[in-house]
């Protein structure tokens, strides 16, 4: 059994971090997309990672459904999984690329970068 400190925190086991935004560097060269994307060749997309467990913090902007699911998970973890840590706000990026007709096109693609994460 892991020992507890006076604050009740456990040692000896890696605790799971709360739902938050983490780095995700995307390199279009690695994806093999640099044959049609002119720019950018890489960008920071971020990703969401961590647990959504009880009690949910307000900055995670949980949906009502997520609040209920988290409550049920806290009461009976084997019956109900916790709610999901997912992007709650995304922003666009500009991409300059070559289309199938060899024309150069500029496009603003929606939902490419995670701005914030939340419990859903």
């Amino acid at each position: 059994a892991a020992s507890k400190t006076r604050h009740g925190k456990r040692h000896g086991r890696k605790s799971k971090s709360r739902c938050s935004k983490k780095p995700l560097h995307v390199n279009f060269r690695d994806l093999g997309w640099d044959d049609w994307i002119i720019a950018p060749l890489d960008y920071e997309a971020y990703h969401c990672e961590g647990v959504c467990d009880f009690p949910l913090r307000s900055h995670l902007e949980p949906t009502n459904h997520a609040i209920i699911q988290t409550l049920m998970n806290s009461m009976n973890p084997s019956n109900m999984p916790p709610s999901c840590c997912a992007p709650s706000k995304l922003s666009p990026i500009s991409i300059l690329y070559i289309d199938s007709g060899n024309n150069v096109v500029y496009k603003q693609y929606e939902d490419m970068v995670v701005e914030s994460c939340g419990c859903r």
Binding site: L31, G32, W33, D34, D35, W36, I38, A39, P40, S91, P92, I93, S94, L96, I98, D99, S100, G101, N102, N103, V104, V105, Y106, K107, Q108, Y109, E110, D111
Partner: protein, 271 residues
Amino acid sequence: FQTLVIFPPAAPKSSKAAKMFNSQEASKYFKEFYARPSQDRYNKAAPKDLIEPHDYMLSIYKTFSTAEKLGLNASFFRSSKAANTIASFVDSGQDDLPLSPLRRQQYLFDVSTLSEKAEVLGAELRIYTKASGNFRISETEPVDIQLLSCHDQQLLDSKTLDLQGSHRPRWEVLDVWEIFKERQHLSQGKHFCLELRAMLDNPERELDLHLLGLHRHGRPQQKKAILVVFTRSKKKQTLFSERREGRALLGLEKSPKERGPGTKASRRRRT
């Protein structure tokens, strides 16, 4: 993608098979599925290195991506007619013999990859002019360049060139939005054609376009005329949808009607 890549329908789900389809192979499969078809199947797209983007397109990208980073995109996009896509089409027209006078010039643009679903918010023709030094000195009158419809010779736009004031080569921009919208509405083929002439007032006569440096002979890719079309997608599109639409428009992906009854079963199986 992961479901599709890691467990393709034909792959047995035994642990041995799963191990064989490792992350390296998944990456290879992914690249082949999304990156190569455009070149191998079409046999049309040239490698990126052979396509030189016009400075104008690079400048659009730099301006808007910088604005995005500064959180200014809303105001910037108002100035570009609220477009979220700006496509450039390079002129594929040809001049007659290089030494014969060039009274009129037809510009041809293959716009077949432009989605019919997109709302066209603007269209302009950008041409590179470089008036010869002798001509500038001899002509004191302003020169009018006029843009006409190839179809019915209707005057679309005109512009007066100030040859005395400008000694440098420059890009002239002519508005072709109205005719482009009309053309889209009528679904007129895959080519868009415009005709250009230059006029002197007194006496009224058509100029040889060589004098304005408009001949195509020896013109580098970056100085060729371009048609710039500003559009806004009516629905949110994924990164791959334009590529797929491009295939369909090029006849490489058939519509459900064209596919015929023979492939319906295979579609059902895929579903």
